[in-house]
C-alpha cells in the first residue's frame, strides 16, 4: 500500500497531464477533420507518440525497484514524478493559444474532450486504486503503477478516437437535423444557385463572383473562406442565409468521386463555374481521369437551360465544356492559343496598386483594372465576370466593379511596409499559383527579392519534379531563397542547384518561425519577400510530446 497522499499526488499529476495532452492531440485531430484514418496516419508518420510522460513513468518504475526502502520513498518518488509531469505541462504549448491553427473548442470538440477525459480518468483511477489496494509492498505498488502510467501516457490520442466513435451516433443525428434545417431554409429562400469547383482558384473565384453579383444584380449569399463541404455549407446557410438573398454561390470541394454530386443534391446548381481541372489531391483520386470525372459531376448536375462557365486555359475544364455543354456554355482564359475564348484578358501589367489589363467580352474590349495581383486572380475575375454577365449583369458596370474587388487573405496579397514588404501567398500553393506569384514578384519594384517556401504538397508523383521545376524558376527571380521544413527540401534544393543558384543565397530552416528569424538577420530596407505556401501544423516541423 502507498500512503493516501502519494495516491492523491500521482492521480492529480496524471489527470492534469492527461487533460493537457488530450487537448494537444485534439488540436491535430480537429485539423484532420475528426477523421480517424487521417489522424492515425499523421500520428504514425510524424511519430507523434508520447515520450515525455512515458519517460517520467519509466524513471519512476526504475526508482521504485532500485530504491525499495522505508515508507517515505513512495511519497518522495510520487512527488518527484508529479513535479516532472508538471514541468512537461509547463514546457509544452497550450493548444488553445499555440500553432498556426489553434484548437477551437467548438461544441463537438468540447464533447470529444469531455468523453476522452472521462475515459482517461477511469484509466488512471482504476489501476491506481486497484494496485494500491492489492499490492502490499509500497515499492511494488509504485513500480506496477509506473508501468501502468507508461501505458496511460500513450492513451490520449487513442482515447480521442474512442470518444469520437462513441459520440458519432449523436453527432450524426445532430448533423442530419442541421442538414434538414438548412434544406428548409434553402427551399424557402430559393436563391439562384451557382456551383463552383476547380483544382485551384475556386475560393478566389467564389469571392469575386459573390462580390460581382451583389454589386451588379442583387443580394448574394456565399460562405466565406474556403468552406466547401456539406457540413460547412450547412452551417453557413443556417447562420447567414437571409430571405433577401437572390443568388447563392457555393464552392464545391471534390474529396472523392461522388462528393460534388452529393453537394449538388444538397444545393442544386443552375449555373456552374469550373476554375481548373488539374492534378491537385491526386493521391486521393488515384488518377487525373478520376479528378476529371469527380469535377464533371457539377456540369452534369446542371439543368438543360443551365449556364456552364469554364476556364479555357485548363485543358480538362475545356474538355468538360465540350463533353457536357449546358444551355449556355462560356469559355474564359488568358491563353488564346488553346482555342476559342468568349472572355479573355490581354496586356496584363502589375503594379503595387494591382493588375491592369484589357478585357474582351464577346468581341467588345474594355480597359479593366483589379486590385488583385497575378494571373490566377485575373483568371478568377474573368470567370466571375463571365458568369455575372451571363446572368444579366451589364458588362461595363461589371468591369467597373472589378476595380473594387477585395483580395482574399493570403492569396497573393501585397503588404507594403516602409522597411520590408511582403507578398503573401501562403494559401495552399500549386504549380500554376507558384509560377504566377514569381511573375508578380519579378514585376514589382524591389531592392532584393526573397522567396520563403516549404514547396507544394498533394501533387502525387508530380510533387518532386514540380517542386524542383519551380525552385529552378525561383532562381531566376530571387536573390535569396529560404527553404522551410523537410517535406520538399531535397527537391527544392535540387531545383535551385539545377539553375546554378549560389549556395550561399539558400537558407534551409525547420519552420516558418525559424525562416522569419533568419530573415530578420539578413533583411534590408526595400526587400520584397514572397511567402509562398504554408504547410500548416500537420506537416510542418517536428511534433514532440
Amino acid at each position: 500500500m502507498l500512503g493516501s497522499l502519494s495516491v492523491v499526488i500521482l492521480a492529480v499529476a496524471l489527470l492534469s497531464f492527461g487533460h493537457r495532452r488530450i487537448r494537444s492531440y485534439l488540436r491535430y485531430f480537429q485539423q484532420e477533420e475528426y477523421s480517424s484514418t487521417r489522424f492515425l496516419a499523421w500520428l504514425s508518420q510524424r511519430r507523434a507518440f508520447d515520450t515525455r510522460g512515458t519517460a517520467v513513468m519509466a524513471l519512476l518504475a526504475i526508482l521504485s525497484v532500485l530504491l525499495p526502502g522505508p515508507w517515505l520513498v513512495p511519497l518522495w518518488s510520487a512527488s518527484a514524478a508529479a513535479l516532472l509531469l508538471a514541468v512537461v505541462f509547463v514546457v509544452e504549448d497550450d493548444p488553445l493559444t499555440a500553432g498556426k491553427l489553434k484548437l477551437n473548442m467548438t461544441q463537438r470538440a468540447s464533447k470529444i474532450a469531455l468523453v476522452a477525459e472521462a475515459l482517461y480518468a477511469a484509466l488512471v483511477l482504476a489501476p491506481l486504486l486497484l494496485i494500491n489496494w492489492c499490492c502490499g509492498a509500497p515499492a511494488h505498488a509504485m513500480a506496477y503503477l509506473a508501468l501502468c502510467g507508461m501505458v496511460i501516457a500513450q492513451a490520449p490520442p487513442l482515447l480521442l478516437l474512442v470518444a469520437n466513435k462513441l459520440l458519432w451516433p449523436a453527432e450524426r443525428a445532430l448533423q442530419e437535423s442541421y442538414y434538414a434545417d438548412a434544406k428548409r431554409v434553402l427551399r424557402k429562400v430559393a436563391p439562384f444557385t451557382i456551383g463552383i469547383t476547380g483544382s485551384y482558384g475556386k475560393t478566389g473565384a467564389k469571392a469575386a463572383l459573390g462580390e460581382l453579383l451583389t454589386q451588379c444584380l442583387g443580394p448574394t449569399f456565399w460562405p466565406r473562406k474556403s468552406i466547401n463541404t456539406v457540413m460547412g455549407i450547412t452551417r453557413a446557410i443556417r447562420e447567414q442565409m437571409r430571405p433577401f438573398h437572390r443568388y447563392a454561390v457555393i464552392e464545391m470541394g471534390a474529396y472523392s468521386i461522388g462528393s460534388i454530386a452529393r453537394l449538388c443534391d444538397f444545393t442544386p446548381p443552375r449555373a456552374a463555374l469550373v476554375t481548373a481541372v488539374g492534378v491537385m489531391h491526386l493521391e486521393r483520386f488515384g488518377s487525373a481521369e478520376n479528378i476529371y470525372r469527380a469535377k464533371s459531376e457539377l456540369a452534369l448536375a446542371l439543368p438543360t437551360d443551365g449556364i456552364l462557365v469554364c476556364n479555357g486555359d485548363s485543358p480538362n475544364a475545356r474538355r468538360m465544356a465540350a463533353e457536357h455543354p449546358s444551355g449556355t456554355t462560356i469559355l474564359y482564359g488568358l491563353d488564346r492559343g488553346r482555342g476559342h475564348l468568349d472572355c479573355f484578358a490581354s496586356d496584363l501589367s502589375f503594379s503595387d496598386r494591382g493588375t491592369s489589363f484589357t478585357l474582351t467580352w464577346r468581341g467588345e474590349r474594355h480597359p479593366a483594372f483589379t486590385p488583385l495581383l497575378g494571373r490566377p486572380a485575373v483568371l478568377n475575375a474573368l470567370g466571375a465576370f463571365a458568369m455575372a454577365c451571363a446572368l444579366g449583369a451589364e458588362p461595363a458596370y461589371a468591369v467597373a466593379c472589378l476595380a473594387n474587388l477585395r483580395p482574399v487573405d493570403n492569396r497573393l496579397v501585397l503588404d507594403r511596409q516602409p522597411g520590408v514588404s511582403f507578398l503573401r501567398d501562403a494559401y495552399n500553393s500549386n504549380p500554376v499559383g507558384f509560377e504566377a506569384a514569381l511573375e508578380v514578384l519579378k514585376g514589382l519594384p524591389a531592392r532584393r527579392r526573397i522567396v520563403i517556401t516549404p514547396g507544394m504538397v498533394e501533387l502525387g508523383e508530380q510533387q518532386g519534379p514540380e517542386n524542383r521545376r519551380l525552385a529552378s524558376l525561383c532562381a531566376g527571380v530571387a536573390d535569396l531563397v529560404l527553404v522551410v521544413g523537410r517535406t520538399n527540401r531535397e527537391a527544392l534544393l535540387a531545383g535551385l542547384a539545377d539553375a546554378q543558384f549560389p549556395g550561399e543565397r539558400i537558407i534551409a530552416v525547420q519552420s516558418r518561425d525559424e525562416a522569419f528569424s533568419a530573415l530578420k538577420d539578413r533583411q534590408l530596407e526595400g526587400d520584397l519577400v514572397l511567402l509562398e505556401n504554408d504547410l500548416g501544423d500537420l506537416l510542418e516541423g517536428t511534433v514532440r510530446f
Binding site: 454589386q215 458596370y397 467597373a400
Partner: protein
C-alpha cells in the same frame, strides 16, 4: 434635491461608423454630470440588437462582441407611448428612462430612423428631429435645400445605383456632358454616409465608373462634385442655446495642406498660426488667430443660418470649403451628431463651454422641445367614422 434624470445613451448601431459611435458615447458618458444625470449605456450591436449593462462602460468589452453580449440585458424600445422606458426582451419588465441621447454616427442613428422610433414612443430625445436628421444626412438634399435659401454650395449631381447598374456608360457620358463637371479631378462620394468610406478623388474620366461602383457598395446614391483644387476646409460647431450659437472654427490640416494654409490664408503669412496652438503636427488648428475675419464671419454666419433653416437641435458641426483661387466659401456638409460632440471646439470658444455643460444643454433642449411637442393636440375624437 430632486432625483437625477436617467439618460439612456444609445450608441453603436448598424452603420459603418459603429466604432466611432462607441468611442463618442464612452467619452460622453465620462463627461455627463453625475450630480444631475444617471447615464444608462444602451449598445446597439452591429446586428441590430439592443443591450444594456455596466460592462458597456469598459472599452475592452467591444473587442469581444458578439460573445461578450451574453452578459448583458437585451432590451428594446417599443413604438408606443406611455411605456416609460426600455422594455426587457426576456420577461418584458421596464427599465425606466427619462431622456434618450442617441450618440450614433451615420445610418439608422443620425438620419431620422431612430428619431422616428423616439417620436412613435413619445419620449424626449436629444439632437435633431426626424426631418432635420433625414435632410442633413442626405448630402444632396441638404445642399439643394440650403442653396435654395441662398447659402453657397458647390454644384453636385446624384447618380442612382440602379441607373449605374443598368447603363453605366450612359451615366458617365451624361456627367462628361455636364459643363459643371468639365474639369477633373472630381469627387465621388456616398450621398448618405458620414465618414470617408467609399470616397474617391477621380483624376481621369476613365476612373469614374469604378469610383461610382465603389460608392454603390455602401450607398444607393452617389454624389459627384467638382474638386476645388486649392482649398481649405473650415469647420464650425453650432448648438441650440436660446437660439443657434456658433463655436470657434477649426481648420483640419493635412500634411500637404499646411503650406497653403500658412501661405495664403493667414494675414501675416502664417508665421505663428499652427505653432500658436501647439498643434501644427496635429490634424486640426482650432480658432486660427490669423484667419481673415471676413472668412470666419462668413462661415459662422452661414453655419448658424443653416442650422436654423434646417431646424437642427442639440450640437451639430458644419463643414465648409474655402476656395483659395476664387476666394469663395461653400457649405459642404452638416453632421447632426458630430464626432466627440465637437467638445474640443466648445472648450476653446468664448464663452467657454465644457463638455459637461454641452451635454447638459443638449438634454435641457430635448426636454424643452418635448414639452412643446407634447402640448400639441392630436386627438380630435372620432368624426368621420361616426357618421
Amino acid at each position: 434635491m430632486t432625483d437625477r434624470l436617467r439618460v439612456a445613451v444609445l450608441f453603436g448601431g448598424r452603420s459603418v461608423e459603429h466604432e466611432i459611435s462607441v468611442i463618442s458615447a464612452l467619452q460622453l458618458m465620462m463627461a455627463i454630470d453625475p450630480a444631475k444625470y444617471e447615464a444608462l449605456p444602451v449598445y446597439i450591436s452591429p446586428s441590430g440588437t439592443w443591450h444594456t449593462g455596466e460592462a458597456l462602460l469598459d472599452r475592452s468589452f467591444y473587442s469581444r462582441v458578439p460573445s461578450s453580449l451574453g452578459g448583458l440585458v437585451e432590451v428594446t424600445l417599443l413604438p408606443k407611448p406611455g411605456v416609460g422606458g426600455l422594455t426587457k426582451v426576456a420577461g418584458g419588465g421596464v427599465i425606466p428612462v427619462d431622456v434618450f441621447l442617441p450618440a450614433f454616427h451615420g445610418q439608422y442613428g443620425e438620419d431620422g430612423c431612430i428619431q422616428g422610433l423616439f417620436e412613435m414612443a413619445e419620449v424626449p430625445y436629444t439632437g435633431s428631429n426626424v426631418p432635420a436628421s433625414a435632410v442633413t444626412m442626405n448630402k444632396y438634399l441638404c445642399k439643394m435645400f440650403l442653396a435654395a435659401h441662398g447659402i453657397p454650395v458647390l454644384p453636385a449631381a446624384v447618380v442612382e445605383r440602379g441607373d449605374a447598374q443598368r447603363n453605366i456608360q450612359g451615366v458617365v457620358a451624361s456627367i462628361a456632358a455636364d459643363p459643371r463637371f468639365g474639369a477633373y479631378p472630381l469627387f465621388v462620394k456616398p450621398c448618405n454616409l458620414g465618414s470617408s468610406i467609399g470616397v474617391s478623388r477621380v483624376e481621369v474620366p476613365g476612373d469614374l465608373a469604378a469610383a461610382l461602383a465603389k460608392v454603390f457598395r455602401y450607398d444607393t446614391q452617389a454624389l459627384v462634385e467638382p474638386c476645388v483644387s486649392q482649398l481649405m476646409e473650415i469647420n464650425v460647431s453650432v448648438r441650440d442655446c436660446n437660439g443657434a450659437a456658433p463655436s470657434v472654427v477649426e481648420i483640419p490640416v493635412s500634411q500637404s495642406g499646411v503650406l497653403s494654409y500658412e501661405e495664403k490664408y493667414m494675414r501675416d503669412g502664417g508665421k505663428k498660426s499652427g505653432q500658436s496652438q501647439g498643434m501644427a503636427s496635429l490634424t486640426r488648428i482650432i480658432d486660427p488667430p490669423d484667419l481673415a475675419a471676413e472668412i470666419r464671419d462668413a462661415v459662422t454666419s452661414y453655419a448658424t443660418r443653416s442650422f436654423r433653416l434646417l431646424g437642427c437641435s442639440g450640437v451639430a458641426r458644419l463643414d465648409f470649403i474655402y476656395d483659395l483661387a476664387a476666394s469663395a466659401v461653400y457649405f459642404n456638409e452638416l453632421n447632426a451628431f458630430p464626432g466627440s460632440c465637437s467638445f474640443y471646439l466648445w472648450a476653446k470658444s468664448r464663452p467657454r463651454v465644457l463638455y459637461t455643460e454641452l451635454i447638459d444643454g443638449m438634454i435641457q433642449a430635448a426636454l424643452r422641445s418635448y414639452s412643446v411637442v407634447s402640448s400639441l393636440e392630436r386627438d380630435i375624437g372620432l368624426r368621420a367614422l361616426r357618421t
